[in-house]
C-alpha cells in the first residue's frame, strides 16, 4: 500500500473522531450527493473501532461490579451455553449493532443487558409484546414495593 493510502487511513480516523453524536443538534437526512466516499466510510465505521481517534482523556475510577452487572454477565454466558449466540455475535450486537450513540452513551453492562434482550426477540425466543408486558409488570410491582 502506498504512503498516500496510509495518509487516507489517518484522515479517515480524524473524520470519524468528528462523528461523535451531537445532542440537541438535529441531523437532516442528506441528499445523496452530500455523502462522498470519505464520509460514507466514516459513517460505516464500526463503533467499537475507536483506536487513534483524537479525544480528551477520560477519568478512571476503580469500581466494584454491581449485582445487576454480575447477573447480566451470567445471563449472557447462559445464552452462549444454550447455543443462542457465540461470543463474537454477542460482541457484534453489543459493541457495533446498537450504533454509535448508544455505544458511547450507555454503561458497559447496560449494553450487555440490552443485547441479551434484543437477541431473545430477534431469534424469536420471546416476542417484543411479551417483553414489553413483562417490563411493565415488573415496573408496576417494583413501584408498589418501593415507592419513590
Amino acid at each position: 500500500m502506498s504512503s498516500s493510502s496510509r495518509e487516507n487511513v489517518m484522515r479517515h480516523i480524524d473524520l470519524v473522531g468528528q462523528l461523535q453524536p451531537a445532542l440537541h443538534r438535529p441531523q437532516h437526512a442528506p441528499y445523496p450527493d452530500a455523502i462522498d466516499h470519505a464520509l460514507f466510510r466514516a459513517y460505516m465505521r464500526t463503533s467499537h473501532d475507536v483506536g487513534g481517534e483524537p479525544d480528551i482523556p477520560i477519568r478512571w475510577e476503580e469500581k466494584q461490579e454491581e449485582q445487576w452487572e454480575v447477573n447480566t454477565y451470567v445471563t449472557c454466558e447462559c445464552l452462549a451455553w444454550r447455543g443462542i449466540w457465540n461470543a463474537e455475535e454477542r460482541r457484534r450486537r453489543q459493541n457495533v449493532d446498537l450504533g454509535q450513540t448508544q455505544y458511547l452513551g450507555l454503561p458497559y453492562y447496560g449494553r450487555w443487558l440490552l443485547s441479551a434482550a434484543r437477541i431473545m426477540v430477534d431469534k424469536q425466543h420471546v416476542t417484543l409484546t411479551e417483553l414489553i408486558n413483562k417490563i411493565e409488570e415488573v415496573k408496576k410491582r417494583h413501584e408498589k414495593k418501593s415507592p419513590r
Binding site: V9, M44, D49, W81, G83, N86, E88, E89, R92
Partner: protein, 117 residues
Amino acid sequence: MKRSHHAEKSTGKGDPQCFKGEAGPAKFKVGDRVRIKNLPDIFYTRCQVYTRGAEGTVAVVTHESPAPEDEAWDNTDKPEWFYIVRFKQKDLWSDYPSAYPNDSVQTEFSERWLEKA
C-alpha cells in the same frame, strides 16, 4: 430449544480448540513481514482501522478459528489461521516521539487481513 451449530461443535472441547486442523497450512510464519489489507469495513470487523496499510512482523501464529466477520453470524465453515502481529509505534503514528524508537504494539488478525510485505 435448538442450540446453534457452534455451541454443539465446541461442547466438551472448547473454542477455538474445536476448529483445530480445519484451516489448512498457515500462510505466514513467525518473523514474516506482513502488511494489513485495507478491505471494506462494514457491519463488523475486529481489524483496527489504524493498522490498515501498515507493515509489521508476525510474532505468534496463534490458533485456527472462523474470522470474526464470519463467526459474528455463526458461520463456522471456513476457519482461518490467526496471527499476532507486532508493529513499531513509529510505523503506526507519524508523530510518535522519536525518543522511543523501540516501542511496539501487538494485535491479532485473521489471515484474510494479511499480505506479504
